[in-house]
């Protein structure tokens, strides 16, 4: 059957006879309550999928409004303080309600038990709870929005947030505080699961790299998030009672806020990117039909990122009056943290080398990831260089930097993963041509949006203003045009993925000929995942093992 598709590895079953499995996790039980009270990690993953998509489009709407406002140099669409609320909401939603929970919540939840050959995560109830906590945080964020918004920026900077604003800072801070607990619970669950629930034969070095990167991200969630929680509590108390912990007039120190906030928020950027790196490893290996080059190095680089990620936070504070000696140290350490990321990029590139590469949609997204994340990471090194940062900080250069890593990296990886595992999650294929079109559209739209911002920032345009000098208009118009294309690129998957639920080709258990355990069971998987606990008797990414297995299957069946 694979010939029907052309130059790909896709091997779909004969569509005229193919059937979805009679009983699987989706049709196992019916009714809203069976979803809202489910303890099945796969169903919880779908709950997350709906909710993060919802929040993504709300955050996206704000991005659209921001770009629309920036079409002209004057603040003419909205007043400056409304604009501030727009970018604050955009940042809060995209970071805490989309990027942090997206890949772990959806793909991690769905795949971690499948990949290690377990029936569920270690704590199914906690898993459901984490979704509810997430929804509570999300609802409260929306409440802050509906009640009139916040305009602190996603960073809650003091004393701005504690003394100078009368918007809904406390509501928003509590919303993020609550959302944080959701990621703590997810992190605990993942760590325990990966330690305790691996099937026989699944040693640490036989785990797919997806698991290593989720493990590392979970460590960050568990160790970092509580510090954010403390910080937000202190901000709320300061605002409520004027207690002065961050208020210089009363002897407090705003820099202490910055230290605490970035102690979480720098690791948080790795919470957002590490799971994405895991997706990329799986996809690249599958579509170049090779074991990931330097498996051990890639695995340990995830842990190294998690560790080094805690040693660099001061690079967000270089111009805030920190000591120049410690800034120097943090600048050096920042250079170091780029090394494990680079190791990954190089190893993926070497995996591609001499592989039999095919260009399915997930692979296109991954190419996007590799290119854009590399640019994002390298500009991160520019920003980490003390002297350079003094010129670039608080400009659009920073905005472009983190959008390259978070959108070009994190979001691309999320879409790659959704496409890659869509057949497993739903049992059906997405339409190939239009999804390739979507991948290319997002790539073009993305570059058009954010490359001009590097130039703008380099020329000195500060971020977070509704107005700008007229000579910057051309680049801003380009950026807004790109955002339109990008928005279109994100709408497409929403449409055709929904379409495919009914009309997509039946995928069969292993359409990509991938080696992971999740691909050796039916799609969609049965509720209990494995009818028989699997035994991992081969190395990970072993395509020969798969070929032998498939051959044997044919002989026994035929």
């Amino acid at each position: 059957m694979s010939t029907a598709i052309g130059n790909t590895i896709v091997s779909l079953p004969d569509q005229s006879t193919a059937r979805l499995p009679k009983r699987h996790y989706i049709n196992n039980e019916y009714g809203l309550l069976s979803w809202l009270l489910t303890e099945d990690h796969k169903r919880i993953a779908l709950l997350y999928l709906f909710s993060v998509t919802f929040f993504f489009f709300i955050g996206g709407a704000f991005a659209g409004l921001i770009r629309l406002e920036l079409l002209t140099p004057q603040p003419d669409l909205v007043a400056a303080d409304t604009y501030n609320k727009f970018f604050t909401m955009h940042g809060l939603i995209m970071i805490f309600l989309f990027l942090v929970p997206s890949i772990p919540g959806v793909l991690g939840n769905f795949l971690i038990p499948l990949m290690i050959g377990a029936k569920d995560l270690a704590f199914p109830k906690l898993n459901l709870l984490s979704w509810y906590v997430y929804m509570a945080g999300g609802t409260l964020t929306l409440a802050a929005l509906v009640l009139g918004g916040v305009d602190t920026g996603w960073t809650f900077t003091t004393p701005l947030s504690t003394h100078y604003l009368n918007t809904h800072v406390i509501t928003a801070a509590m919303a993020i505080f609550i959302t944080g607990f959701s990621s703590i619970l997810t992190g605990i669950n993942f760590i325990v699961t990966i330690h305790r629930m691996r099937c026989p034969g699944m040693t640490w070095f036989r785990m797919p790299l997806f698991l290593w990167s989720h493990y590392a991200a979970s460590l960050l969630m568990v160790l970092g998030t509580p510090v954010l929680a403390t910080t937000l509590v202190l901000v709320a108390l300061e605002r409520l009672f004027g207690i002065g912990i961050f208020d210089p007039a009363k002897g407090g120190d705003p820099l202490l806020f910055q230290h605490l906030f970035w102690f979480y928020s720098h690791p948080a950027v790795y919470i957002m990117i590490l799971p994405g790196m895991g997706v990329v490893s799986e996809v690249i290996s599958t579509f170049s039909r090779k074991r990931i080059f330097g498996y051990t190095a890639v695995a340990f680089s995830s842990v190294a990122i998690a560790l080094f990620g805690f040693f660099v936070w001061e690079h967000h504070m270089f111009i805030m009056g920190v000591s120049s000696y410690s800034a120097l140290v943090f600048s050096l350490l920042t250079m170091l943290v780029a090394v494990p990321s680079a190791i990954k990029i190089f190893n993926w590139a070497f995996t591609l080398q001499k592989g039999s590469i095919t260009f399915e949609t997930p692979m296109l997204y991954c190419f996007g990831f590799m290119g854009l994340f590399t640019i994002g990471g390298l500009t991160g090194v520019f920003l980490g260089s003390l002297g350079m940062d003094i010129h670039l900080t608080e400009t659009y250069f920073v905005v472009a930097h983190f959008h390259f890593v978070m959108v070009g990296g994190g979001l691309m990886a999320f879409l790659a993963g959704i496409h890659f595992w869509w057949p497993k999650m739903t049992g059906r294929m997405y339409p190939e041509t239009i999804s390739k079109l979507a991948a290319v559209t997002t790539f073009i739209g993305f570059n058009l949006t954010f490359l001009p911002q590097f130039v703008l920032g380099y020329l000195g345009l500060p971020r977070r203003y509704a107005a700008y000098p007229p000579e910057f208009q051309v680049l801003n118009v380009l950026s807004t045009a790109g955002a339109t294309v990008l928005g279109f690129g994100y709408m497409l998957p929403l449409l055709y993925l929904a379409w495919s639920l009914k009309y997509g080709a039946i995928a069969g258990s292993n359409p990509w000929q991938a080696t992971g355990l999740e691909w050796q069971i039916a799609s969609p998987p049965p509720t209990e995942n494995f009818t028989e606990i699997p035994i991992m008797d081969h190395e990970v990414y072993d395509y020969e093992w798969l070929a032998n297995k498939t051959k044997k299957e044919v002989t026994t069946v035929g």
Binding site: R196, L219, L223, V227, H259, V322, S323, S326
Partner: protein, 111 residues
């Protein structure tokens, strides 16, 4: 369970044989904890100059360690659990030392 499996359990760093501590043992720990509390309180009333703080924190750390090891059974846990505790303490120390490194190299003592 087969012999082989039991044996595999023994060198598994993520696993520890379950151990039950008797009330008498708990009682010893309890007495030591009380004694240390008295000690730390008494030490605070003696002028030890800069060492007062060191003694106070030192005794608190000792108490915390004893509490974790025996009341919380950390002493009888797998290496994995011990590593987990270590990771928490380590990360806390990273946060403190790295932050203080900034404050201390910036006009320390001149406020």
């Amino acid at each position: 369970m087969t012999d082989q499996a039991t044996h595999a359990h023994l060198d598994n760093p993520e696993h520890a044989q379950h151990r039950i501590v008797t009330p008498l043992q708990y009682f010893f720990v309890y007495i030591i904890m009380l004694a240390l509390t008295g000690l730390t309180c008494a030490a605070a009333f003696v002028d030890l100059k800069w060492a007062n703080a060191v003694v106070a924190v030192g005794i608190a750390c000792t108490q915390a360690t004893i509490g974790a090891l025996f009341f919380m059974h950390a002493a009888f846990q797998s290496r994995l659990i011990k590593l987990t505790i270590g990771a928490g303490v380590f990360m806390f120390l990273v946060m403190v030392t790295m932050t203080m490194s900034d404050y201390m190299s910036r006009s320390w003592g001149m406020w």
